[in-house]
């Protein structure tokens, strides 16, 4: 199955627009940032209730070898992933499952912040 740039869950999008800016950067032949060159766009409603990434992209233009496209690389929460529809489904289940145990997965995807976590040691403080 073909890989595409997928949104795992709207509520994992922090609305930071890293994806939008870096996509614009590559699509403008690296001239700069902004300018409406991006293939991905974050829509925010008037009252800040949601961030919705709108994307319809196979990622082939910026990752001819199937590596991680730049929007996925720069996404800080793991909301964007590069996979086929079957993997997307698995990731969604994984996210929902892990959220039950760890509230921090409301804020970041488990694949972006895998165990083991670093803990603050007393002597480090």
């Amino acid at each position: 199955m073909e890989k595409r740039i997928c949104v795992v869950s709207d509520d994992l999008c922090s609305g930071c627009r890293n994806c939008e800016m870096w996509c614009a950067f590559l699509r403008s032949n690296k001239k700069g940032f902004g300018g409406g060159h991006s293939k991905i766009r974050i829509v925010k409603d008037d009252r800040g209730l949601l961030n919705r990434p709108l994307v319809d992209c196979s990622g082939r233009a910026c990752s001819p070898g199937g590596e991680e496209p730049i929007c996925v690389e720069m996404c800080p929460t793991g909301c964007l992933i590069y996979c086929n529809s079957e993997d997307l489904h698995k990731k969604k289940l994984d996210l929902n499952e892990k959220r039950k145990d760890q509230p921090v997965f409301k804020l970041i995807a488990p694949w972006k912040y895998p165990y083991p976590w670093r803990k603050l040691e007393k002597e480090e403080l």
Binding site: R17, G32, G34, D46, R47, L107, L120
Partner: protein, 651 residues
């Protein structure tokens, strides 16, 4: 063609309702870079000592810098004006507003004169106009945002606005950007005085990068320093999800909290960050291109008295309202956050002023008669919320508190000023001082009141994790010994200079962590790659030093001297009672001597020496001081202390 900078200043005359576009001089870019640096330069040159803060001639400056609009800028904007107490009112804020301003083609907006009727400024690329805002006046900031989005019909327009606090000229009112990002204490007040309700911006242009591949490589490096697994900074992972929340517990354990108006160092029970994340946080909500997953978050109160409250928060300073006023309840502090955010009220002013009034009430200095029947008392949550509302609307006793605690103490008298927690007339920002002398010194010498973002972060990088090739201009072991005066001058000077230049790029000081906080070369690499400049690390740091000296010159010209560089009396004279931590006492004076010596300032007056100003190419300040008759010392009166001379610690 200009890289990084868009090269334009927008000047808005509110009286004649005219807008001019002006070229940004190349010399300014090189000497001050942008954002906070150029703002300070404009303020120094255009708002002189003769200008009254509430007069037509005071100016309000919104600035961005060369890296704004790129992912390194992180949406930072610096707002600057003359503070009502004649010092500098400066603050940074995040959000998406600043990036849109860059995309629209402007680096700076200078607001001049006053309007008779409320207006708002609309910037949509080349279309810039002032519009009637009578229908917006009196509305809260979120409503202003929503109305302007609907009214203009411009997709994704970003709004900077003031709320009722700014409109009612509450002392330190802030400007709110993109819903719940805020900054610029007292800038909201001056914006209200100028009757400018909002600035709505949308741009579709580009911020160009000179060397794109180098820039991308530099950015990847920056992200690696902040990577949750690879960073050498143990606080990065906690910060990435919890913001300052994780500090609540840490502060409380170590007695760093200003509990009960800083009479104590901790509160039991204390607000718990795990409970907060579990019950009140719903999802991440970031500034423009923030590299952290959830430094900003969206909260929601689902049940109880305050059910239905929702908004964004970051850097959870507002939660300290709990310990300062002696209560422990997430819904109440979130209600407080919501009130402040909607009204553009400064949380620090509100929480410390009410904390101070509460102590005065408990000591019998004020009574129920003064407070309009409200029983102020530590732990009285309802009274706290009620008083916050009264401050915003300036009703009854709230009108006195709205002037700020220092002014309120002058009105109340009866020794109430003994319990103030203010520096240069502004309320503290929750940073402990008796337990961390570097913080006490840094807050005391800050040109813009007790601003902690100018020297952030207050904790040391782990000295063992610092790579050998990184040169640090202070001894990290000595400098971060919290209750000693050793090497604090060099540390604080370096913190100020390096942060000044990072704030001028601009970038967010909350990512200046780990190696990024002690090594400027990743920042310089990004700056050079973006703009095509070729600065060295020394030149880069020199810019920071120049900015700090110019800001010092500004407040010197307004009459501020060494006596104003101090911390609240409580920190100097009273111990933290529940922790047996002694007051700072004369140690502050030792550190000040050291700091001024390191800076090349006169130790008696804190005025920069002529040779320092010359070294930093600030000759115009020398001429200015001469004209005004301010005595400029030639050579240091005493030898700088640094590693030696007057180092006698007072226990």
């Amino acid at each position: 063609m200009s890289y990084g900078w868009r090269g334009k200043i927008l000047r808005v005359d509110l009286e004649k309702k005219r807008v001019f576009s002006e070229e940004l001089p190349k010399e300014w870019m090189r000497n001050y870079i942008g954002c906070r640096g150029i703002n300070s330069f404009i303020l120094y040159n255009e708002v002189g000592p003769q200008v009254d803060p509430f007069s037509d001639d005071n100016k309000l400056i919104f600035g961005t810098g060369p890296l704004e609009g790129t992912p390194v800028g992180m949406g930072r904007v610096s707002i600057q004006t003359k503070h009502p107490n004649r010092s500098i009112a400066e603050g940074g804020a995040g959000g998406h507003w600043a990036a849109e301003l860059k995309f629209a083609g402007y680096d700076f907006i200078v607001i001049e004169k006053k309007s008779e009727r409320p207006v708002y400024l609309l910037i949509h690329d080349d279309e810039v106009r002032l519009c009637d805002a009578r229908h917006l006046w009196g509305k809260d900031t979120r409503e202003k945002h929503a109305i302007l989005r609907q009214e203009t019909g411009i997709d994704n327009i970003q709004v900077a606005s003031i709320g009722r606090a700014g409109e009612n000229l509450v002392a330190n009112a802030k400007v709110q950007f993109t819903l719940d990002h805020s900054g610029g204490k007292a800038c909201g007040t001056i914006m209200g005085d100028k009757k400018l309700a909002a600035i709505a911006v949308r741009g579709t242009g580009m911020v160009r990068v000179k060397e794109p591949d180098r820039f991308l490589a530099g950015y990847r490096q920056l992200r690696r320093h902040l990577d949750l697994k690879e960073t050498i900074d143990v606080f990065v992972p906690s910060w990435a999800f919890n913001g300052a929340n994780m500090l609540l517990e840490l502060f409380n354990e170590n007695g760093w909290v200003h509990a009960f108006n800083a009479q104590k160092g901790s509160l039991e029970p204390m607000l718990n960050d795990v409970e907060y994340l579990d019950q009140y946080i719903t999802r991440p909500e970031s500034s423009f291109c923030c590299p952290f997953p959830a430094c900003g978050r969206r909260y929601e109160v689902k049940e109880g008295k305050y059910a239905g409250i929702a908004g964004d928060e970051r850097e959870v300073g507002f939660a300290q309202a709990g310990p300062i006023n002696g209560f422990c309840s997430w819904p109440v502090v979130l209600k407080f956050r919501d009130l402040c955010s909607q009204a553009g009220l400064d949380e620090d002013q509100a929480m410390y002023t009410i904390g101070w009034a509460t102590e005065c009430y408990e000591r019998g200095i004020i009574t129920k008669k003064d407070t309009d029947g409200i029983e102020l008392g530590f732990g009285n949550e309802d009274a706290f919320i009620e008083m916050t509302e009264k401050m915003i609307s300036r009703e009854g006793f709230g009108d006195i508190l709205a002037k700020g605690s220092q002014e309120a103490a002058k009105i109340i008298g009866k020794d109430s000023e003994k319990y103030l927690l203010t520096i240069k007339g502004k309320e503290l920002e929750r940073m402990p001082q008796r337990n961390g002398y570097q913080m006490a010194l840094a807050l005391a010498v800050c040109e813009a009141g007790p601003d902690h973002t100018r020297w952030y972060p207050p904790y040391p990088p782990n000295p063992k994790a610092i790579p050998k090739h990184v040169e640090i201009p202070f001894d990290p072991f000595k400098a971060f010994q919290t209750r000693s005066v050793d090497d604090k001058g060099r540390l604080v000077k370096w913190l100020y200079d390096s942060r000044a230049v990072i704030e001028s790029l601009p970038s967010c000081v909350f990512v200046v962590r780990g190696l990024l906080g002690i090594d400027l070369s990743p920042w310089l690499e990004l700056f050079n790659a973006c703009t095509g400049e070729n600065l060295s690390v020394e030149e880069f740091l020199n810019v920071g030093e120049r900015i700090v000296n110019l800001e010092r010159a500004y407040i010197v010209r307004e009459g501020f001297r060494r006596k104003d560089d101090t911390v609240p009396r409580r920190m100097l004279e009273e111990p933290i009672s529940d922790r047996h931590i002694p007051p700072i006492g004369k140690n502050l004076d030792l550190m000040l001597d050291d700091y001024y010596g390191q800076r090349g300032w006169d130790i008696e007056t804190a005025i920069p020496l002529q040779e320092t100003l010359r070294r930093l190419s600030l000759e115009f300040v020398i001429d200015d001081f001469r004209e005004m008759g301010i005595h400029l010392p030639e050579t240091p009166v005493k030898a700088p202390c640094g590693e030696g001379s007057r180092r006698e610690e007072v226990k």
